[in-house]
């Protein structure tokens, strides 16, 4: 193994790094990230400012500033909510499900994915509150003893969502923090100045002793085991927000698996979108290699196929059901007012991932990056099509309507991306985005009697 290699050979990228190199290289990402970083952070905060302004404007003047036109009363906010919840999912897939499958390649990308999960849920969680309009009543969503002697409606999928999303946020945050503790301890032992103080506190007294690992490894295993069904349940519950109602285009049993596959699909695309620049900026080429991107691409191909299949099945069932409203709804999707949104979704999500069958494209990082942007775009439009287009074309022709997002909604949408990227940028600068401990775990510890592992 590389641990016995001569010093000059260790710089060869394909050589397996030693433990000391792993700590050094990953700790080096936490230094001064340079001017570009601060320029980017500044832009992100500026866009966030625009979003916050639009939100305050809406809070002052009410939901009238959103473009809601009956019957479309779920618009960009709910679309964006579903989009961000979906983004979150692949993080938990990579960190928990692939952990249970003992998949070694996950170690290089899982921290990024897991941080993405937490920040995406933080973003998603804002949207139901924004959508409800009167932010100061947001706590009414939670069952709590009150003077009005009211309780929430436990038969409503919207309430299930409150439980699902808040559980998801709590558990994925705990999972991220538990994974971070040994890493923070490793950088604590390298850091100086105020950062050392920060890491001393946040490492919670971690020293990697035998009894700490004894409890830690068990706890991590059980957290992964709990997060696995959770990730599958959350987007299923989100899909029931739609499937439990009788709107044509919503009322389908395929919705839960269709949404979960779509969520993982969009999430993997977002992991690629985030990892490509991160790897360049922090010079992580040695740890996040083309092989990792190829595996992510395969995951994207698989889930993209499932999503494409779901599109076909949706159209087939709409026709095969013989239900006039279903048929009309799906005809309207493809050829109605919003044909452009539907075709964006079909092309970006259903067609473009077929390019990933070619190994040349799977192994080319620039083409993967571009493809991941298209998938992100397509997945946002998928939710737009499902939500807005279905609502705009229900049963009664006189009750049909056309919805156009207002400036406030678009500013808040842009602000949500800024909010997400702001947290991610702050995280990437202050905490390791590649797990020190887990990267070391897949490198065999040096042994006395020569190299064998």
């Amino acid at each position: 193994m590389a641990t016995t290699a001569q010093p000059d050979r260790i710089t060869v990228p394909h050589e397996q790094p030693t433990y000391a190199e792993v700590t050094r290289d990953i700790a080096a990402t936490l230094g001064n990230p340079g001017r570009g970083y601060f320029v980017l952070l500044g832009c992100v905060v500026a866009v966030l400012g625009v979003g916050v302004f639009a939100l305050l404007w809406e809070t002052r003047w009410g939901l009238g500033v959103a473009g809601y036109t009956p019957p479309v009363l779920w618009g960009v906010y709910i679309t964006t909510f579903v989009f961000w919840v979906g983004i979150a999912h692949s993080g938990t897939l990579i960190s928990a499900i692939l952990y249970l499958f003992r998949s070694a390649w996950r170690t290089a990308v899982y921290r990024t994915a897991e941080a993405m999960t937490v920040f995406a849920v933080m973003t998603a969680g804002l949207f139901p509150l924004i959508h409800v309009g009167r932010l100061w009543y947001a706590y009414w969503l939670i069952p709590y003893p009150n003077q009005r002697q009211l309780w929430v409606n436990f038969k409503s999928p919207l309430l299930w969502d409150v439980f699902a999303v808040s559980t998801y946020f709590t558990v994925s945050t705990l999972f991220l923090i538990v994974g971070l503790v040994p890493d923070i301890a490793a950088i604590r032992d390298k850091a100086k100045g105020w950062r050392k103080r920060l890491y001393e506190i946040t490492s919670l007294g971690w020293r990697g002793t035998d009894y700490q690992w004894r409890h830690y490894t068990r706890a991590y295993l059980y957290l992964a085991a709990l997060a696995t069904p959770l990730v599958l349940s959350v987007h299923s519950v989100v899909s029931w927000d739609f499937a439990m109602s009788i709107v044509p285009g919503w009322h389908a049993t395929i919705f839960a698996p269709y949404f979960v596959a779509g969520a993982i699909y969009s999430g993997v695309a977002m992991v690629i979108t985030l990892t490509v620049p991160l790897r360049k900026v922090f010079r992580m080429e040695r740890y996040v290699t083309v092989r990792h991107f190829e595996n992510l691409a395969k995951l994207m191909l698989l889930t993209g196929m499932i999503v494409g299949y779901a599109y076909v099945v949706e159209y087939f069932i709409a026709w095969y059901s013989g239900n006039a409203f279903e048929r009309a709804s799906f005809y309207n999707r493809a050829f109605g007012d919003y044909w452009w949104a539907t075709w964006t979704m079909l092309i970006c999500n259903g067609l473009l991932p077929w390019l990933l069958w070619f190994p040349r494209i799977r192994r080319s990082i620039p083409s993967l990056f571009v493809l991941s942007l298209f998938v992100n775009l397509g997945m946002w439009f998928e939710r737009f099509v499902i939500i807005v287009v279905s609502l705009s074309y229900e049963y009664e022709p006189y009750a049909m309507g056309h919805y156009t997002p207002s400036w406030a909604e678009l500013c808040i949408l842009a602000g949500s991306f800024a909010w997400f990227f702001m947290w991610f940028l702050l995280f990437a600068k202050n905490f390791p985005t590649v797990s020190i401990t887990e990267v070391k775990e897949i490198i065999p510890m040096p042994r006395r009697k020569g190299a064998h592992a």
Binding site: T167, H215, R218, A219, L223
Partner: protein
């Protein structure tokens, strides 16, 4: 943490050497030593020979509490404030499975974390430390009096420690 007791602190670069040292320490009757590793390691864990962590009981109890809480809460609240929706029974357990499931996960995960913190805190033992132990070295701290020092040092050196120092 309270004051670190006197003893010997050894650093190992090789995992098999550290495992040998742990076995040798146990054979000579040492029980209260502390092993540091940068990553969890099966060889070391086997040599130390801890039983399975009791954290799993916390997970189970947390999960059971969550499922009970989810059903009891949704059932009781529906009865306390009856909402007739879709002609369904007022307390309908089928949709409440979602609530119970989410609370199972939430309480199970919360209890696991509390269990982890509780057990790691209860088992804590004051011991000398070196920053290399989160980097690339395995550390063993053996608390011992001045008269045992040379014997312990001998043992650790024989096993293959790259460095042994006295912590007093």
């Amino acid at each position: 943490m309270s004051a670190v007791p006197a003893g010997m602190l050894a650093a190992f670069a090789h995992v098999d050497a550290a495992a040998d040292a742990i076995r040798a320490l146990k054979e000579t009757g040492h029980r209260d030593f502390t092993v540091y590793t940068p990553v969890p390691n099966h060889e070391i864990a086997e040599a130390v020979g801890h039983s399975v962590s009791p954290v799993r009981r916390w997970t189970l109890l947390g999960g059971l509490t969550g499922v009970a809480l989810g059903f009891l809460m949704s059932m009781w609240m529906s009865l306390d404030y009856p909402l007739i929706v879709g002609g369904k029974p007022i307390p309908s357990w089928i949709p409440y499975v979602v609530i119970a499931f989410e609370l199972t996960i939430l309480c199970g995960a919360g209890a696991t974390i509390i269990g982890l913190i509780f057990h790691a805190w209860r088992d804590r033992r004051p011991a000398a430390y070196d920053p290399r132990f989160t980097d690339d070295h395995i550390g063993i701290f053996v608390p011992c009096g001045p008269h045992q020092r040379s014997a312990v040092e001998q043992l650790l050196q024989t096993a293959g420690a790259t460095e042994v120092r006295v912590e007093a």
